[in-house]
């Protein structure tokens, strides 16, 4: 038998082959495409009965707001949710993928998913792509071992914290948390602090805006409060509508053209039926 070299398919991880080409093109003056980012303020905190996750709802493409009410709190498992900041496609796909893996894991083990399982799956994936997957996540949930909250960075490192913020509005939100957080808050107190933190991001960071989404996870279940607060209502529409009388726009020239009738009717016999 002749010896042939076997081309093994790449095992996974990012293929950096095209990066040199991209760098060359950029140096030649090619404009790189803008991608949709979630500028974002995302937060999470642990309260007496579990975890509260919060997020704003603005998605940006460069300087333009491309979605005024997007969903940044993603489903991972019946008892685990994840807020995502960074490139929207990356956060959505990585959370979808881990959600799928967690479901398979639940069938294989016969148990409810644990937050640390989701954490390990996310950080291994992100580390393998060496930061190319631009997803910064706040992961929270309640499992048999209790409530857990983690911050996951794009390169694969994680923090385990009682309160966490990520995204461009994280500093504004963290300022609120540092001054108002206390251990063992009730649900109402926790929601108030989370809303204050997200609003701080909404009003002080250009990358965040629109509404506040919340997700409250306790041992009893998960409550997704979509658009819990809407501090930026569209209040500038005129109730009577807008009318512009003629003369507002200057007419430079006018030309009238008759539309010719293109249809000719021809009398004929009906088709014979068999």
């Amino acid at each position: 038998m002749t010896k042939t070299t076997i081309d093994l398919p790449p095992k996974g991880g990012f293929s950096f082959d095209l990066c040199r080409r991209n760098a060359f093109l950029e140096s030649q003056g090619t404009k790189m495409p803008k991608f949709r980012k979630t500028g974002t303020t995302i937060v999470g905190l642990i309260f007496k009965d579990g975890v509260i996750l919060g997020a704003d709802t603005r998605a940006t493409e460069g300087e333009i707001v491309c979605d005024k009410n997007c969903e940044k709190i993603h489903y991972l498992a019946p008892n685990i949710s994840c807020c995502g900041a960074g490139t929207a496609a990356d956060t959505e796909n990585v959370t979808d993928m881990v959600s799928s893996q967690l479901e398979l894991h639940r069938y294989a083990t016969g148990r409810d998913s644990r937050v640390v399982t989701a954490l390990t799956m996310l950080k291994s994936h992100l580390f393998g792509y060496q930061g190319a997957v631009s997803a910064a996540l706040v992961l929270g949930g309640v499992d048999v071992t209790g409530p857990h909250l983690h911050a996951v960075y794009p390169h694969g490192s994680t923090d385990t914290l009682p309160f966490a913020t990520m995204g461009s509005g994280s500093l504004a939100a963290m300022a609120m948390f540092e001054s108002r957080f206390k251990e063992g808050m009730t649900r109402e107190e926790g929601i108030e602090v989370v809303c204050a933190a997200i609003c701080a991001g909404i009003f002080n960071d250009l990358g965040s805006g629109s509404n506040v989404d919340l997700c409250v996870i306790t041992k009893g279940g998960k409550e997704y409060l979509r658009n819990y607060q809407q501090p930026n209502p569209r209040s500038y529409t005129h109730s009577k509508g807008y009318h512009f009388t003629s003369g507002h726009t200057a007419i430079l020239s006018s030309k009238i053209r008759a539309l010719r009738n293109q249809v000719r009717v021809v009398e004929g016999d009906a088709m014979e039926e068999e």
């Binding site: 799928s100 398979l104 069938y107 294989a108």
Partner: protein, 235 residues
Amino acid sequence: MGDSQYSFSLTTFSPSGKLVQIEYALTAVGAGQTSLGIKASNGVVIATEKKLPSILVDENSVHKIQLITPNIGVAYSGMGPDSRVLVRKSRKQAQQYKRLYHEPIPLSQLVRETAAVMQEFTQSGGVRPFGVSLLVAGFDDNGPQLYQVDPSGSYFSWKASAIGKNVSNAKTFLEKRYTDDMELEDAIHTAILTLKEGFEGQISGKNIEIGIVDASRKFRVLTPAEVDDYLAEVE
């Protein structure tokens, strides 16, 4: 599939036009413990014997009826380890579908893909056909459905079916008892009675397993206590 030394299929035609390996696989299924399924108007029930090789085996560790998705479950007759491989592949296929279309996989498509896997193993190098027949039950947008998949890769949708040992008696029993407007509770009782027909020894919640799916679209395996309750009702 398989090393280059075994790139030929071990399943080859006999002069009479049969694939003997598949016939033998069906024999292996026929020697397996009885499983049956009944489709009711508002749900599906599948049941299987769970005779353990010795009284020393911990029955809580044995799960013959498995979940593939939240609304689809499967029972088997034949070789347990072969069924595990198929269940694993089916679960993965269901997840891939969900990732692509963001909705749960319809039962008929899942069955088609599982059957395709089983057929692959009758025509690939170095592998043998699966020694199991599967009864797949689920509730999706097309209502309650019950499918049977054979080692050859052929699949059928059934109103009621039985596989494994004692299958002819079980099917005759089901033919007599089945009605189109049966409800899930009646179907569960009928399933228990059918299993009881060919059962050797004392039937109880510990040596049979029953899985049901109703309009809530949540497939679940009944606990031994619940099975005992149904057994008491049937007496």
